[in-house]
Amino acid sequence: MKSNQEPDQDERLRAVLREWVVDAPLAPRFQDQVWQRIARAEAPSASSFWAGLVRLVEVVLPRPRIALLYVAALLVLGVAAGSVTAQIKSRHLDATLSAHYVQSVDPYRADSSQP
């Protein structure tokens, strides 16, 4: 970029700047505040996480192979969770009914377990 100022004015400005002394005191804890601002600027913000997530949904998910994998994985997860939960529920009910049977035939028994 070409300067439009005169060369002698430029020289005078440099001379003034060399002589300039800052005698105003720094604000209390100035250095700490500067380092805190640097740390804040460098730390990954929550907004960058959401931006990443949005980018994942916008850019990565619509790719056919990724979309197919995602949908299949969630379907398998749902089916597996449903089957396991149903098995647990059935076992619990079996145990309850077997206990009811024992209690119905034996008045002295208050509890029982499965065969």
Binding site: E58, V60, L61, Y70, Q87, K89, D94, S98, Y108
Partner: protein, 167 residues
């Protein structure tokens, strides 16, 4: 975003549908059992793989046994009440209390004998292998089950008392 969001939603919907469908199918036999008139007998049918004929026979045996069982329960309850009254009145074991305890024990013995007879009849109404399995299970759950009294006298059960330091 629109296409990606739709895929995201589709995945979640399929996950929910898969869960609900398999949960519904997996618990259908249990739900059917619970709708039977006697769910515990329906469980017996399922657990021991009984045919309809065997199940009908076992249901009949069960229904014949239950009123007798209820009558014995009524007698036991009467004896318990009477014993409670006698114990509240006397602080020693009187001949009347002794007689009542004997009657009560006799009633319990008869109850257990009738129970065993019923179990044996039920087991005979089942296919032989299932009958043996039923008999072993039901006896272990009822009359042959270890009682608290027996477990008190098992070896080592009182060791912690021996180890208690004397004051």
């Amino acid at each position: 975003m629109k296409k990606g969001g739709l895929i995201l939603l589709l995945g979640l919907l399929l996950c929910i549908a898969g869960f609900s469908g398999f949960y519904y199918l997996g618990t259908a036999p249990c739900r059917n059992m619970m709708h039977e008139a006697q769910p515990e007998l329906a469980w017996l049918k399922k657990e021991f793989g009984l045919s309809d004929t065997a199940f009908a026979r076992i249901t009949a045996l069960h229904e014949a046994y239950m009123p007798q069982c209820a009558e014995r329960c009524r007698v036991t309850e009467q004896q318990n009440r009477k014993l409670k009254d006698l114990l509240a009145r006397d602080s020693t074991v009187t001949p009347e209390i002794q007689t009542l305890l004997t009657e009560r024990a006799r009633n319990r013995a008869q109850c257990e004998a009738e129970m065993l007879k019923h179990f044996q009849e039920v087991s005979r109404a089942m296919p032989p292998e299932q009958g043996r399995r039923y008999l072993a299970w039901v006896q272990a759950q009822t009359v042959l089950r270890p009682q608290a009294m027996e477990s008190r006298h098992k070896m080592g059960s009182g060791r912690h008392l021996m180890e208690t330091p004397h004051m």
